[in-house]
């Protein structure tokens, strides 16, 4: 059982890890539960007759996520190495299941969920992490293959097939997220500039083409340019988000005192929860929130950098990239920098699949940090 190259053998030898990282993640998720309650209580009361409807769901998600995070952090991340390909295949199958009538669940004109009894899950949330697992594993197996373009092709293939399936749902924003994640990981994996250019340039052309392919995207795009041109249709969502932020001013109207949550702002508890946070806590509240998110991202990449193991490095980078890109995209949507798309703010927005999976991912990162510490100690003793 002696594997001198790998100091990580048993959890007994793992250290405390980056507790600050862990605390910040739990803090964010817990804050999310509070915000979900505030943003959804009126709507929940009107729609379900229970002001705590979304709160309870989110609380369950939080507890499950916490369990998943803690549980997964005790698992040696090396064990995920071999799971990469199967995770990818499973998630592709799940993404495909969305299109089978009776299994797929539609909402707001898009089929993004699969339902098993009362539980609905969003496969695209899983697919992101499956892609990270697969890519990290693939690159770590033979880092040299990254330098050749042909070596990147399997990663591209996996990423693009996920993208295509998600795009068919349709869900443009998650597609963009996976695309950005893919490029980010290929870059971090050490691909040559030429390869990167070969990937990025077609993407630059693909985006306008995809927008023109679906009329509703074009409408949203024009609504984003001037939301007041169609205040009751395409522009409505963005206008309501801006009203919420405007009402918040610098210091906010106070927690639980959002005016826009009274059914003016659609998706106030999920994709646009940041609008409500902006309204209730003001600019400084948003700033503070993103300082904490930024802190998590920074600590995450720090953990990646300190990881001596290339697989661990890629794994953590992938997870943190997914988290950071999605957080940024959500903020850009809410503030009207890019056209509105359905994309939750990770850890904060209502939505159990996203919450549990993100927390589990954070659990992996934390797990890596525990073993990092161990590696250092080990090195000193060596």
């Amino acid at each position: 059982m002696k594997r001198p190259n790998n100091p990580l053998r048993s959890k007994e030898r793992a250290g405390k890890g980056d507790l600050l990282f862990l605390a910040a993640v739990i803090l964010l998720a817990a804050y999310g539960v509070v915000c979900v309650y505030s943003a959804s209580c009126y709507n929940a009361e009107v729609q379900y007759g229970d002001a705590l409807y979304f709160f309870k769901k989110q609380l369950i998600g939080f507890l499950l996520g916490l369990a998943a995070m803690v549980g997964i952090s005790f698992v040696s991340y090396e064990k995920f190495r071999r799971a990469g390909l199967s995770a990818l295949l499973v998630s592709l199958v799940l993404l495909g299941l969305v299109f089978i009538p009776g299994v797929g669940r539609s909402n707001y004109g898009a089929t993004r969920w699969i339902g098993v009894g009362p539980v609905t899950i969003q496969p695209s949330e899983l697919a992101k992490y499956a892609f990270v697992l697969f890519t990290a594993g693939y690159f770590a197996k033979n880092p040299a293959r990254m330098r050749r373009f042909s070596g990147i092709l399997p990663v591209l293939g996996a990423g693009l097939s996920i993208c295509v399936l998600i795009m068919l749902e349709p869900n443009m924003s998650v597609t963009m997220c996976v695309g950005a994640l893919m490029i980010g990981m290929i870059f971090l994996g050490g691909a040559s500039w030429k390869s990167l250019a070969a990937i990025c340039i077609p993407v630059l052309f693909a985006v306008p083409a995809l927008i023109l392919a679906e009329p509703y995207r074009l409408q949203r795009l024009s609504a984003f340019m001037d939301p007041w041109a169609s205040p009751r249709e395409e522009g409505y969502q963005l206008i309501q988000s801006l009203y919420a932020l405007g009402n918040g001013k610098l210091f906010g109207v106070g927690l639980f005192h959002s005016r826009q949550k009274y059914r003016f702002l659609p998706f106030s508890e999920s994709d646009f929860i940041l609008s409500v946070i902006g309204e209730e806590t003001g600019f400084f509240g948003v700033l503070l929130l993103f300082l904490v998110i930024g802190f998590v991202v920074w600590r995450g990449f720090r953990i990646a950098n300190r990881c001596e193991n290339f697989y661990g490095y890629m794994l953590v980078c992938g997870i943190m990239l997914a988290f950071a890109v999605q957080s940024a995209l959500n903020a850009l949507v809410v503030s009207g920098c890019i056209p509105p798309t359905g994309l939750p703010l990770p850890l904060i927005s209502a939505g159990n699949t996203s919450l549990i999976v993100t927390m589990a991912g954070m659990g992996i990162v934390y797990g890596v940090s525990r073993h990092n510490g161990q590696a250092k100690i080990h090195r000193i003793y060596k």
Binding site: Y262, R263, G294, L332, S335
Partner: protein, 561 residues
């Protein structure tokens, strides 16, 4: 790096929205957060010069429903239907009309009904004061007062002309609601009080108005005329004491369904319609001649000038005849005073031609023919006066005795007043002041002198001649012993489509008293009387009745003989 950049980008954007753009956004957002129920301002009253109320309000309420906030539509609809006496289906439909914020269920509902509904505390039903206009004297002075539209804004008459003062400013009850209009729990409704409208005090004297209406109604019935009108004004400052247009209509029961008839009945013809005045216009011709004579214009005919007794004058080849046949010594060897007494047309042809176009037109302008009198009432007509440049001698000759010219009754009354009051032409007034509910005057409309017509001396000479007309001439039927009534009759043939309409006449009389210091002037017009049609027999007696009534009301003493 890229991520740090993105973070900075959107944080900058958040700062822009929340610190710089926020005011503008909030302004828009507040609009969607609140729903308003109007608080209708109390409309100002219209009162006569002595405070008699002519237009008032009755407290009433509007009932609104906000469909999204109605909790039990069936029950509420049943209750409302019963209380309002309206079919259940109509109410139910309104209470369930989603997608609209506020629906008006009923308007102008009496207070007792509203109280009975309010007692049931129905969700989603709101009340707001919404007074109904009420006219205590019904049809009295209806064309002057005018009426309001269904939403309470002035449509005609004083109600329209002074709407900006009468209307006041509506307030509102603002309540915070959610997207679909459900009141938020614990939210306090903001109350923006309404500012009530100001009251308008007319120059009209209710008593004189009522008296004149009675008199004109009687003559309308007895003469079988199409219409009967009268103006009473105070020649000393041109404040209008009465304006009568008959037939009329009840302001509390406006025939809104018949627009054509409503338009005709609600028209203040005294201000807006024109007619050929006929002999009453001779007052102006006489005034011009006397004034020119006093000024030493040798073209003017002297006061002792004896007119040719011939019945006919030939001007530019066409013959103008007197209405009288001049047989048996009638209209022979007349002076100006006698020509007025007899209303002899040829004499006034002579005067107009003697003065000439330039001079005569100067007086027509001074007496404001072809111009607005400047009354504070909308829709004034300026009449029809041939442009000086196109007037031929034949036209000038006829204008001399009141033909080939069309005037509004108001123009004629004002011209007569300005001829006999010392020569002062004021802007006629219907409104004296605007005052608030606490009795404080906000705006006062004072007499406004527009110009001089003739000298005091001319005025006094003319007035004694017109006194003679009533004492000895065609105006005898307006004579009241001891009150020095003066005046002039008029009988004009009506024109229809450019031709004289056979058998259709306008009988008129303009008179005033006392002749030495005129205080009350009345112009009476009877349009198309059947049978007797002379101003002397149809219109002059009405003026006498009106003057007698005024004497009784004002308790005016007889002048020392």
């Amino acid at each position: 790096m890229a991520i740090t950049f993105l973070f900075c980008l959107f944080l900058g954007r958040f700062f822009y929205i929340q610190a710089i753009w926020e005011d503008d956004l909030n302004l828009r957002a507040v609009d969607q957060w609140t729903r308003e129920i109007p608080v209708v301002a109390g409309r100002g009253k219209v009162v006569d010069r002595n405070g008699e109320v002519l237009a008032d309000n009755r407290t009433a309420y509007s009932i609104y429903a906000r469909a999204n906030a109605v909790s039990d539509a069936e029950k509420s609809a049943a209750l409302l239907a019963e209380a309002l006496g309206v079919p259940y289906e109509n109410i139910y439909e309104k209470l369930t009309e989603k997608g609209r914020s506020e629906v008006t269920v009923a308007r102008r509902t009496a207070k007792e009904v509203v109280l009975s509904i309010e007692a049931h505390d129905l969700g989603g039903i709101y009340f707001a004061q919404d007074d109904a206009r009420y006219y205590p004297h019904g049809a009295l002075a209806s064309q002057v007062i005018g009426f309001t539209s269904y939403d309470g804004s002035g449509t005609t008459g004083i109600e329209r002309g002074y709407d900006s003062y009468l209307a006041g400013k509506n307030g509102e009850v603002l309540s915070e609601t959610d997207l679909v209009g459900v009141d938020l729990e614990g939210a306090v409704a903001a109350y923006v009080p309404a500012t009530d409208g100001l009251n308008v005090r007319l120059t009209v004297d209710y008593r004189v108005q009522a008296l004149a209406e009675e008199t004109m109604a009687r003559v309308l019935a007895s003469s079988g005329a199409k219409a009967a009108r009268a103006i009473v004004l105070d020649p000393s400052d041109f404040s209008v004491l009465a304006m009568v247009n008959l037939p009329s209509y009840d302001l509390n029961d406006i025939p809104r369904d018949d627009i054509a008839s409503l338009n005709a009945l609600s028209r203040n013809s005294l201000v807006s319609d024109i007619y050929e005045p006929g002999s009453t216009f001779k007052i102006v011709t006489a005034a011009a001649n006397i004034e020119e004579g006093l000024r030493g214009n040798s073209a003017a005919l002297p006061l002792n000038y004896v007119f040719s007794s011939s019945r006919t004058r030939t001007v530019d080849g066409s013959a103008i005849r007197c209405w009288s046949d001049h047989k048996n010594g009638k209209h022979a060897n007349q002076t100006l005073a006698e020509a007025l007494n007899n209303s002899c047309n040829p004499c006034f042809v002579d005067i107009a031609l003697a003065l000439g176009k330039d001079t005569f037109y100067d007086y027509l302008k001074a007496f404001r023919f072809g111009q607005a009198t400047g009354i504070d009432f909308s829709g004034e007509s300026i009449g029809m006066l041939l442009p000086e440049s196109t007037v031929k001698n034949g036209d000038l000759a006829r204008i001399g005795f009141g033909q080939t010219v069309a005037v509004t009754p108001l123009q004629l009354a004002c011209a007569a007043a300005a001829a006999v009051n010392g020569g002062y032409y004021y802007a006629p007034r219907l409104v004296r002041e605007i005052y608030s509910a606490d009795g404080i005057t906000r705006f006062q409309i004072k007499p406004k002198l527009l110009g001089r017509t003739v000298s005091e001396q001319t005025s006094s000479i003319l007035s004694s001649m017109l006194e003679g007309v009533v004492r000895d001439g065609s105006g005898k039927k307006a004579y009241l012993e001891g009150y020095r009534v003066a005046g002039k009759t008029g009988t004009a043939q009506k024109y229809e489509d450019g031709h004289i309409a056979q058998g259709k006449y306008i009988s008129s009389f303009v008179g005033y008293f006392p002749a030495n210091a005129p205080k009350y002037l009345a112009l009476v017009i009877v349009d198309e009387p059947q049978g007797s049609y002379y101003g002397s027999t149809v219109a002059a007696p009405c003026a006498a009745e009106i003057f007698q009534g005024i004497i009784d009301i004002m308790k005016i003493e007889r002048a020392e003989a």
